[in-house]
């Protein structure tokens, strides 16, 4: 084997090795990425429109959402998960705002950050009417705060 063949084969070998490592790494990342989620579904039904009263929002603890119902405007769903570090915020009727117990973030009624370390407003989720007449919420679909479902 002469110098040139040696270098050629050597380069090819090293390139193959690098490619192999890259592919393996990608495979590891993909392997660790869950294909099935063993957790509550992102899309679920919350009941009939008549179950919800007008006025202050209803808090659904399991789903971590607030259901707003307004006589003129209709339904809106706010996330109860603080955008700072994921604690569950509470709605205070006294000032009409969301307060986070963890680091004191305060969100306005429209979800905008008014105080504290939260970097983004609370999320609003799409709510639609399912065939059976129930309200259906999809947490994978984030909508603008102005989104409303009139029932």
């Amino acid at each position: 084997m002469n110098r040139r063949t040696f270098l050629n084969w050597g380069t090819a070998g090293i390139a193959a090795l690098c490619a192999g490592v890259a592919v393996s790494l990608a495979a590891v990342v993909r392997f660790l990425t869950p294909s099935v989620f063993y957790e509550p579904p992102q899309m679920f039904k919350i009941g009939n429109a008549a179950d919800f009263s007008f006025g202050p929002p209803t808090f659904l603890a399991e789903e971590k959402i607030f259901v707003f119902r307004d006589r003129e405007k209709g339904f809106a769903i706010a996330s109860a998960v603080c955008t700072h570090l994921g604690c569950t915020v509470g709605y205070f009727q006294t000032d009409g705002r969301f307060h986070c117990p963890c680091h004191g973030s305060v969100f306005g009624a429209d979800g905008k950050v008014e105080h504290g370390p939260a970097p983004r407003p609370l999320e609003w989720f799409e709510v639609t009417l399912a065939r059976d007449g129930q309200l259906s919420v999809d947490k994978d679909r984030v909508v603008p705060a102005a989104y409303r479902l009139m029932v």
Binding site: P34, E39, Q42, L85, P101, C102, H103, P117
Partner: protein, 426 residues
């Protein structure tokens, strides 16, 4: 025919001690004398040089492995059994509480000791040539220690665990681009749930300990290969200080291939030339050395016994906390990360990106780079006032932030002194 003697000699393959060969084999075949040099400098055995902190950290790790394996016999990494198993350990398993206490307190102790060990290595300037790389390995050992504590924190599956990990992993998700993805890979989902518990368990009992053991071996091997422990700082004389530290890996023409010469009795793949990389010992220093066995061994054994007894004593009197079962619906107020991350959380409560990502990333980078950026060859504290002040500032800021986060943060993360009781707070 003597089966007993045969059996004995099949285990200990050494000639009888009455022979010279047997005597030397006693030394050569002993793994502890393999890790230690035959002789060590007396001054290096002094408690005030190392405080034996590296050893204590290692012993705590051994305690953690032992008690951890014991706990594994009774632990199922799945909600809600995980929590029930904790209750079983507490109330029905013989010695369960004690073992759990030992595991918990040794884990806290290890975080503290590894940090103090790092401070002592910095203070004595022991990260300087030729020990730069061992410092870098040390930084990874430090991060691994934190990783082990963090993954272990979730396993009891109580409120404390659940919310600490919720808050902790959310800190990570602020890393630009990859943050959310890393969180998803770590949790195996969008939130802390059964997949997260299983993943943390596997990391905690298999992946991280293996890496830890591997790196610890490299760490010890490097201590030996770097010429044993550094000289205590009080032995460094002003004028010769520079000389002492420049002995080390050959500075220039680093590697030169030379044919093995005839007077060399051994070779290292025929490529390594120059001075040996360990510090050379002069004749007068030779007198200051003692045999590792028994002098170093004895002291290390004392440190071991003291460590084990201390952990046992603490475990007799203080129980590891266990709150209600994890409840994703109810956030405790305030929700806190594990204490060693409370400094981080304190920063994060001001700015998530800056405090949660930028500052810690820079801190780790700075730690790794210290031995390569410090231009000062001297190890004498008198010559490195500013380095020591800077590191002390780093350590103190850390400690103060952790104390604030632990003791002075009440509901809503408001500043509350620990002696004030807030009624109505959960």
């Amino acid at each position: 025919m003597n089966p007993i003697r045969d059996a004995w000699q099949s285990i200990f393959r050494r000639d009888p001690l009455s022979t010279d060969k047997g005597k030397s084999e006693l030394v050569f075949l002993n793994v502890w004398l393999h890790i230690h040099p035959a002789k060590v400098k007396k001054e290096n055995l002094k408690v005030k040089h190392t405080f034996y902190l590296g050893f204590i950290t290692f012993y705590l790790f051994l305690i953690l492995v032992t008690t951890g394996v014991a706990l594994m016999f009774y632990y199922r990494p799945h909600p809600p059994q995980a929590y029930q198993d904790m209750k079983d350990l507490e109330y029905v398993v013989y010695l369960g509480t004690f073992l759990r206490n030992m595991h918990r307190w040794a884990a806290h102790g290890m975080v503290i000791c590894v940090f103090l060990h790092m401070c002592r290595v910095f203070y004595t300037g022991s990260y300087k040539r030729p020990r730069q790389f061992n410092w870098v390995i040390g930084v990874f050992l430090f991060l691994l220690t934190l990783g082990l504590s963090f993954t272990g924190y979730l396993l009891p599956w109580d409120q404390l665990a659940f919310w600490a990990i919720t808050v902790g992993t959310n800190i990570g998700s602020y890393a630009p681009l990859v943050g959310g993805r890393i969180r998803e890979l770590l949790l195996g989902g969008h939130s802390v749930g059964e997949s997260a518990l299983l993943r943390f368990y596997v990391l905690h009992v298999a992946v991280l300990p293996s890496v830890m053991i591997l790196l610890t071996m490299v760490h010890f091997w490097r201590v030996r290969k770097d010429g044993g422990l550094s000289r205590p700082v009080w032995k460094l004389k002003a004028e010769s200080a520079a000389k002492v530290v420049t002995i080390g890996a050959p500075a220039e023409p680093a590697f030169r291939v030379v044919p093995a010469s005839k007077d060399k009795t051994y070779g290292l793949m025929e490529v390594v030339t120059g001075k040996p990389i360990f510090e050379t010992v002069s004749a007068e220093e030779e007198e200051d050395t003692v045999f590792s066995y028994p002098y170093a061994f004895f002291r290390e054994a004392i440190a071991l016994v003291a460590t084990v007894i201390s952990v046992m004593a603490v475990s007799l009197f203080w129980n590891a906390p266990l709150e209600e079962m994890a409840n994703p619906v109810k956030t405790p107020n305030p929700a806190k990360a594990p204490w060693y991350f409370l400094g981080l959380q304190e920063l994060v409560s001001h700015s998530a990106l800056l405090g949660g990502v930028v500052v810690p990333a820079l801190a780790v980078l700075a730690l790794v780079a210290i031995p390569y950026l410090d231009p000062n060859p001297s190890r004498r504290p008198a010559d490195r006032k500013w380095a020591i002040r800077a590191f002390a500032a780093f350590a103190i800021v850390n400690v103060v932030l952790i104390i604030i986060g632990t003791l002075f943060r009440g509901p809503g993360w408001a500043l509350v002194p620990p002696w004030v009781h807030i009624s109505g707070a959960e």
